[in-house]
Subunit: 319 residues, 2 copies
């Protein structure tokens, strides 16, 4: 274990603090509130177009912090490895962890590695826990949406779920399906510089549909989305259609749903489009008066129907 | 998933913050440095005499914080559940999580649940990440042992490893083997009130032997332990003898190894014995002059031999 850690795990992560082998890391957090979030990643397969379990484990946790307006600072990394997992796969996954941690500006300060018998853990599981700082006045919450607010998304939905599913099942061999997995703190920071954000949510498991419903419930308001304005890439649309899936409920890993005051919408949109992860940002609906906790879909025909949550997960093990 | 969380996970944990379903929790950390540690628990079986995966997941992380002199404040809890795991087992494990979190004075503020297919994750894995505060002047490290220091342990070694092994393999059906799993922050706090602690380590995986070696290496000094003073319970001694194991290398989950200045040793011992988890505290050796990074065992015959680390783990999956 000591050899595995020193030879394979630590160098790839490039953080000398890990070498001192203390039981816990000591870190300094700047003044402000502390945001804390945890996520386990059990994605299958470990590598897929647009990402891998390592990238996912950084982005997923960075994004959960970003959705609270928290600047990600530190992360812990816990590996559960299946006996017999190739060093090559482990190294590739860890290189990706290191690369995306640097990209996202987080420091990995503490780790843990457990090895379980062959047949368990399906190659590897990763848990990351993130610590961020919420500077004075910068807190965002899923509870802050208000009637009249405009709903914005930063790009196409359903990319991650369909990319992972296709990588797992090889259904569409020539389809151009790639995960949108990306760390979103930089984008949130840019948006916060432009205006006050009322509410944020990253539409991961459960897709945009679940995120809308959760925001409606948490904020106690009624959301309306405009079906024809929901951006879906053609290959995702096609793949979903063939499999009977609704892209609204397919997972994303580089998307955020934002509620802002109508007067700020243009400023926020402009700011988002100036950022690499917000180029295709657009308005997809608004907060209307109506039954709190519910979401209405305005169809392309101009009719309205309630958004119904599918029972169960459409695609398990996508993160 | 929402139903599982609301009906089974949250109520048992008894922390209303979890109900707001934010992406990340916001917490306030008192002034001081922040200590951060993560641990995954894959113990087999999930329940064993003296503990279970839930208790272990709290104590393991609390103890890693305590070894830095950090008061445990917050914890995240990530579950990886095997499809088909009985609700009864899940509830029992979570009740234990809740009970021991309260006992240890930590608040569980953020969680995550993933379900993997039948055959994976062996029932359940738990990851906990702990956040603690290190008050000014209270930092402890594994690197602080100094020549002349006295080495103290808070009780019998090898209990946890042998209890789990026996629960797994049912070798000794009538043996009185029970895990020592316990949260040690209270004990450390009591010890710090009594005197300045030079170095701390919890002898978990790898047992007391590995902890001694790690302290010798990290502190750059030479440790000598007195074989006849290492406290081992009779049933643990007997079970180890029959299986050809050395209790020095069998895991503990409620023990700490401490180095203190010789003048403080009595005060610290007294303080420890006043605490429920330190009643059997005793001196087991000292820091001597000699080759740094090495550990010498003084045998009951008065001879001396170097402590050799066993290659590989004696008992996998004990935490």
């Amino acid at each position: 274990m000591q050899t595995l850690l020193r030879k394979t795990v630590f160098p790839v992560l490039g953080n000398e603090d890990l070498f001192d082998m203390e039981d816990a890391a000591k870190v300094e957090v700047p003044e402000g509130s502390v945001a804390l979030t945890t996520d386990s990643f059990t994605v299958k397969p470990l590598f897929f177009p647009g990402g891998d379990i390592g990238k996912l484990s950084i982005c997923g946790t960075v994004n959960d912090l970003a959705m609270r307006g928290a600047k990600p600072l530190f992360m812990t990394l816990a590996l559960v490895l299946e006996e017999g997992l190739s060093f090559n796969k482990l190294e590739k996954a860890l290189e990706s962890v290191g690369k995306w941690a640097r990209e996202a500006g987080v420091k990995i300060v503490s780790g843990d590695t457990k090895v379980v018998e062959r047949g368990f853990a399906d190659g590897m599981y990763i848990n990351t826990t993130g610590v961020g700082v919420i500077f004075e006045g910068k807190e965002v919450s899923i509870r802050g949406a208000k009637e009249g607010d405009v709903l914005i998304i930063n790009g196409f939905v359903g990319d991650h779920g369909m990319a992972v599913m296709n990588a797992r099942e090889s259904i569409f061999s020539d389809a151009n399906l790639s995960s949108d997995c990306a760390p979103l703190w930089g984008l949130v920071d840019t948006m916060q510089d432009a205006a006050c954000l009322h509410a944020l949510r990253d539409p991961t498991r459960g897709g945009l549909g679940a995120a809308l419903k959760e925001m409606a419930q948490a904020s106690g308001c009624h959301l309306e989305i405009w079906e024809e304005d929901i951006p879906v890439r053609a290959p995702v649309e096609a793949a979903c259609e063939m499999l009977g899936l609704d892209p609204l409920f397919v997972a994303n890993e580089g998307k955020l749903l934002c509620a802002v005051a109508p007067l700020d919408a243009d400023t926020v949109l402009c700011a988002m489009r100036s950022h690499p992860y917000g180029k295709e940002a657009r308005i997809i609906g608004e907060v209307v008066s109506g039954k709190p906790g519910e979401v209405t879909v305005r169809t392309s025909m101009g009719t309205r129907r309630p958004l119904r949550m599918p029972s169960g997960e459409q695609l398990p093990r996508i993160c």
